[in-house]
């Protein structure tokens, strides 16, 4: 039973992790806490849904495309909104994404009504027995996808020139700009990349989860806690934090009572952050 729960938590955590990594990347590079990240996931879910409805591509197969679309969406959002508040006061930076989130969620309601939708006949469905454990195939696919994306991000940030430049910005904006790095452009890329993560997560989720305008809110909130738990600015920390949350949610929910499971998640955050005020792997400014 606990094995089953742990596996369930692990799979859930990987999906949270994908959302959280994008959030963490954005924070790490430009110090923006993106409260609209859940809304981005929602946008991606609708995109996958419509692609499936009209062209018939399965969400998991269309995930690279969705990620790409979301990348451009992110770049546009960055240049239209986020870039303009980066130099602004702390509160404006904190709240602008709240506004963005409200806007996007209600756009979705306006365009597509508050109805629930679900991708019909996804390719990956059903369950597999691995030993004594049931594994839901779509969640497994989503988790694998999420780990692949995590690997890609790791590779991108550590090994590519653009990635290194982005890292330089997150370490020291001033120095990076003095070294001739075009901060605006790279911030845009980083924001786009964060959105692409949300996009991939949305596509994977669309495979097995219902879709409605407010669907991303809870994912965004949990991812936020995962990022804070792992430490703002650390993508690995975000993934670890998210997996931890997934496991706390399923195992803790089972042991203590599922009505308390989100309380447990938030409580875990409070406890960890009080012991380690910058999260598990956090660094940099507050």
């Amino acid at each position: 039973m606990y094995l089953q729960l742990t596996v369930g938590g692990l799979l859930l955590g990987c999906i949270y992790g994908l959302v959280a990594m994008g959030l963490s990347l954005i924070y790490g590079v430009m110090g923006i806490v993106n409260f609209a990240h859940g809304a981005f996931v929602m946008v991606a879910m609708y995109a996958s849904f419509w692609l499936n409805r009209f062209i018939g591509i399965d969400p998991i197969l269309s995930s690279p495309l969705i990620a790409l679309l979301m990348f451009f969406f992110g770049v546009i959002v960055y240049h239209a909104v986020i870039g303009k508040v980066l130099e602004g006061p702390f509160l404006a930076r904190l709240l602008v994404t709240f506004g963005l989130s409200i806007f996007l969620i209600n756009c979705a309601q306006f365009l597509w009504s508050p109805d629930y939708r679900m991708v019909e006949n996804p390719i990956f469905r059903g369950i597999r027995m691995v030993g004594p454990v049931f594994i839901e195939v779509p969640k497994l696919m989503a988790s694998i996808g999420s780990l692949i994306v995590a690997g890609l991000i790791y590779w991108f940030v550590r090994k590519t020139k653009t990635g290194l430049a982005i890292q330089a910005i997150s370490l020291d904006r001033m120095a990076a700009s003095l070294m001739g790095i075009d901060i605006e452009r790279l911030n845009g890329y980083a924001f786009g990349l964060g959105c692409a993560c949300a996009g991939a997560a949305g596509a994977f989720l669309a495979e097995f989860y219902y879709i409605f305008p407010d669907v991303g809110t809870m994912f965004g909130l949990v991812a936020l806690v995962a990022v804070a738990l792992g430490g703002f600015g650390s993508t690995e920390g975000a993934l670890i934090g998210a997996i931890l949350i997934g496991i706390i949610e399923t195992v803790g929910g089972f042991m203590v009572g599922s009505e308390f499971k989100y309380a447990l998640v938030f409580l875990a955050y409070l406890v960890i952050v009080i012991v380690r005020p910058r999260g598990l792997l956090g660094w940099g400014a507050d």
């Binding site: 909104v81 602004g88 709240f98 506004g99 209600n106 756009c107 979705a108 005020p277 910058r278």
Partner: protein
């Protein structure tokens, strides 16, 4: 300088007078309701302002305090028949104590870690109350209808009484904050916001002052909780601990401009009716277009007027000041 001050004062006096007298002529219950909400959120915004604007600790979990306050008075009333006014005071004290206790660990956090910790706090409190049988768990508590009147803190025929109670609360908090701004407390709060290291070096006990701030803010917010409980005569976790209450409070304060007294009042007085107007014109379609406009509005404010409405006011003031000076210079020449 003096001229500007005087015009500001006259404007303020007019504002106070208008806030006191005009509502007397508003008979439409729904408009009265809007007025009540405006004063309630102005008080909540001010309470937020104490920690968010002065001390610089951004809370997105004020609903935790709001909910606790609403439950304190309601529980006392339902269970022991305690007069709501005593409950009101008790709510303030208990919520302040609660804020203090929560603050002990939480004030160690800075910046967004603090902000997210407050979100977490709000959610945890909601879940706890949803499962706490003694206070009705998810079912909440119903406050019995009593005789209307100031003594019972219940009014049925009109809402103006609620409005004036809210206005008095607002008046008291404004007086308190004016006093605070000019006293050691206010200076210390601002010093902590500006630079914690300097504050320490100046002999300020940061933790103590942060705790004071959070306790005051929580206490006032808790009293507002009692106010809403008496207004709707019903408390329920989903209703009183709603995350959107926290977000709205922070938005109003930021929209108005933080770190000064007038900001949250302006924010509440403008943001609430504006969002109602968009709803009024477009909300009944059920398409969410009103909230789209509301969201876009917040984004635009953050982008183009990040200092809040008070930023606009200050710019205008500076401009008039410059004009006055110029005019004077012109006269002298």
């Amino acid at each position: 300088m003096k001229d500007v001050d005087r015009t500001t004062k006259i404007l303020l006096a007019c504002g106070v007078l208008a806030a006191t007298i005009i509502p007397l002529f508003i008979k439409a219950r729904f408009l009265q309701h809007i007025l009540v909400m405006v004063v309630l959120y102005a008080v909540l915004g001010e309470a937020w302002n104490i920690i968010g604007g002065y001390v610089g600790l951004v809370s997105i979990g004020q609903a935790a305090f709001f909910g606790v306050g609403s439950y304190v008075s309601s529980y006392l009333f339902v269970e022991y028949g305690v007069n709501p006014w005593i409950g009101f005071i008790a709510a303030g004290l208990i919520t302040a104590l609660f804020g203090f206790l929560v603050g002990l660990p939480v004030t160690r956090l800075r910046g967004r870690y603090f902000a997210i910790a407050t979100i977490a706090l709000g959610q945890v409190m909601k879940v706890l109350f949803e499962n706490w049988e003694r206070v009705g768990a998810a079912t909440g508590l119903m406050l019995p209808l009593g005789k209307e009147g100031l003594v019972n803190f219940q009014f049925h025929t009109s809402k103006l009484q609620y409005y004036y109670i809210g206005l008095v609360m607002l008046g008291i908090i404004i007086l308190f904050m004016r006093h605070m701004e000019k006293s050691r407390l206010g200076y210390y709060f601002k010093a902590i916001r500006e630079n914690e290291d300097v504050a320490s070096a100046m002999g300020i006990n940061r933790t103590a002052y942060k705790l004071i701030a959070i306790a005051i803010s929580a206490g006032i917010t808790g009293m507002c909780g009692t106010f809403l409980a008496q207004y709707s005569l019903y408390v329920e976790p989903e209703y009183m601990f709603n995350h959107n209450i926290s977000v709205t409070i922070a938005l109003i304060a930021v929209f108005g401009g933080t770190g000064n007294i007038l900001g949250p009042i302006l924010g509440s007085a403008i943001l609430l009716p504006i969002s109602e107007l968009t709803r009024a014109w477009m909300g009944s379609t059920g398409t969410g277009i009103d909230m789209m406009i509301y969201g876009a509005f917040i984004v635009l404010i953050c982008v183009y007027q990040p200092e809040g409405l008070m930023g606009v006011v200050r710019n205008i003031q500076a401009r008039t000041k410059a004009q006055v000076q110029q005019a004077r210079r012109g006269a002298n020449v």
